[in-house]
Point group: C2
Chain length 342, copies 2
Amino acid sequence: MAVTIRDVAKAAGVSASTVSRALSIPDMVDPETRRRVTRVAEHLGYRPNRAARGLSTGRTGNLGLILPDLANPFFPSVVKGIQLAAHQADYQVFVADSDEDASTELGLVRVLAKQVDGIILCSPRMKPAELREAATLAPVVLVNRKERSIPSVSVDNVGGMRQIIEHLSAQGHRSVGYVGGPRSSWSNRERVRGLRVAANQNGVELVELGHFAPTFDGGTDAAEGAVISGVSAVVAYNDLVALGLLNGLRDRGVDVPGEMSVVGIDNIPMSAMVQPSLTTLDIPKDLAGRTSVDLLLRLLTEESAHVARARELATELLARHTTAPAPTTSTRPTGRSRTPRL
Amino acid sequence: MAVTIRDVAKAAGVSASTVSRALSIPDMVDPETRRRVTRVAEHLGYRPNRAARGLSTGRTGNLGLILPDLANPFFPSVVKGIQLAAHQADYQVFVADSDEDASTELGLVRVLAKQVDGIILCSPRMKPAELREAATLAPVVLVNRKERSIPSVSVDNVGGMRQIIEHLSAQGHRSVGYVGGPRSSWSNRERVRGLRVAANQNGVELVELGHFAPTFDGGTDAAEGAVISGVSAVVAYNDLVALGLLNGLRDRGVDVPGEMSVVGIDNIPMSAMVQPSLTTLDIPKDLAGRTSVDLLLRLLTEESAHVARARELATELLARHTTAPAPTTSTRPTGRSRTPRL
DNA sequence: GTGAAAGCGCTAACAA
DNA sequence: TTGTTAGCGCTTTCAC
């Protein structure tokens, strides 16, 4: 078996409790002993067993992260932001991929709840009631969606949609299509909402082309309808969909951007790798990750008596915080219209 | 605090141990009591605390996964394969991204070691000695590299390179370039080795163009050298590099595949999303994931007395296993030469 | 400043 | 078949 706190204690000629203190509350122990203990611990290669520590402190030092699809290039950046922030605070991250299955997600929350101090939940499809149940099982921070009384980190979808519509409108487009994501997706609903408002304000006609899978293939499927609809520009639910759409349009001999403009959302790495690059709305992904960790850790260190109030507070804070680095269209200079020909 | 085993015991009028048995060794308890206990447990919403269980059993029910870069589209498939297999066996997966920093990785192993039953390590850059140290801290399975006495799952790089060279040779190429990955990467060394052998056997000249970052930008950087070298075809360390290379070539006005052919390795999703699709060598990524979990779990359930032998055995098994579904070039029909014009 | 003792939630002998 | 006891590795009173 590995080296335990007692091994260190014995070797240093002190009690286990002293070792414990020397390592976690250094000032409570004589400098002399402290040094001896540290040396011995290091020499023996002692690593505290966090699970055991968790048992007595109620703190595991772990964070859980649940997301719908790691293969969606949107998420790795978020995960990286989270891991970085977590590691800096000496937390480990448990990542679980639910495979786009919202029912799995609640199960994952249950399994994780006991092994982590808090959970970051990216679940565009979970029902509000499920979210609330999840929040009773462990401290939860929502990413990319909001739910009353649960702290969350989200982006200003409405503002982002306004930017897109204004951009298109300035280019002279009067009729814009929207290739929607899953009906049950919170982000999708927000985006539709934002688009409607902005279209209305800019005298642009918005044509909703239906709901599609949030994938490359979903975009391909949407091409036919986009062509038929007669719009001159199309906004896609996300970049993956936009790329698939481009693919489908090309297959139909539609020249992009000559005959039709396409705009994506997310600014995934792939969007910059096609030529010319895809016009897209940037979402500060790693910042969202970092912010969610910060928020979660703040909740955890809050006096438990004040947690309820803290939650409300935190929600407000975040709304402002994430709105600040507002989404902007990416800025690759590629001529008049930056929509790709691919 | 959450509901514990004692709460259930009390409510069911039995002892804690009975509850424990009823839930994990059902046949050791009277059907009547068992039913009662189960009912009460369910009713109270009891969830065993796995960390606590781990403390007494020595089994945590968690697996660790360390990989260099989640943002590399190669990995999500691997992760998904791993998660699926792990969840099916009722294991959770701890994912840690080392950000391509091999020195971080050993640290991650140390931190994770106590909290997991075993670790799946994708570390192309770690030194052999570090790998062996890692293997002493926890049961370890290596992915995509081999090291004496440590079980591993890897693909038949040499065979794959042969396929690529034969493919190019059949197309009439006599001089082929290789855009190498990091000097310290195990896969890169294997690939070079395989290419040299295959080139030699097929009467093809192999021009090694140097070492580049395993990224899109790395590929872009390699374009200049590729052009100068005068080869008619280029193999890239992986698909990301290949895509960057295509980008760089296009910027230099080189027609692909008219003037130069490009072949990638990995078959990442993105490769099928460009038009026409990138010619690439498929690596069975999710299978690699599944296999590594299977292997690890087998090690864990092995009688400890036989573990040493089991390790050797397992290594052998795997070598055969992963060679079987050998890499094949992807099969998108896109005309004579399938190298993309992008 | 330090040690002894109790306990976190659970399982695994050992008795009964 | 079931309950009692001890203990996993650690922290945390409570004495000294």
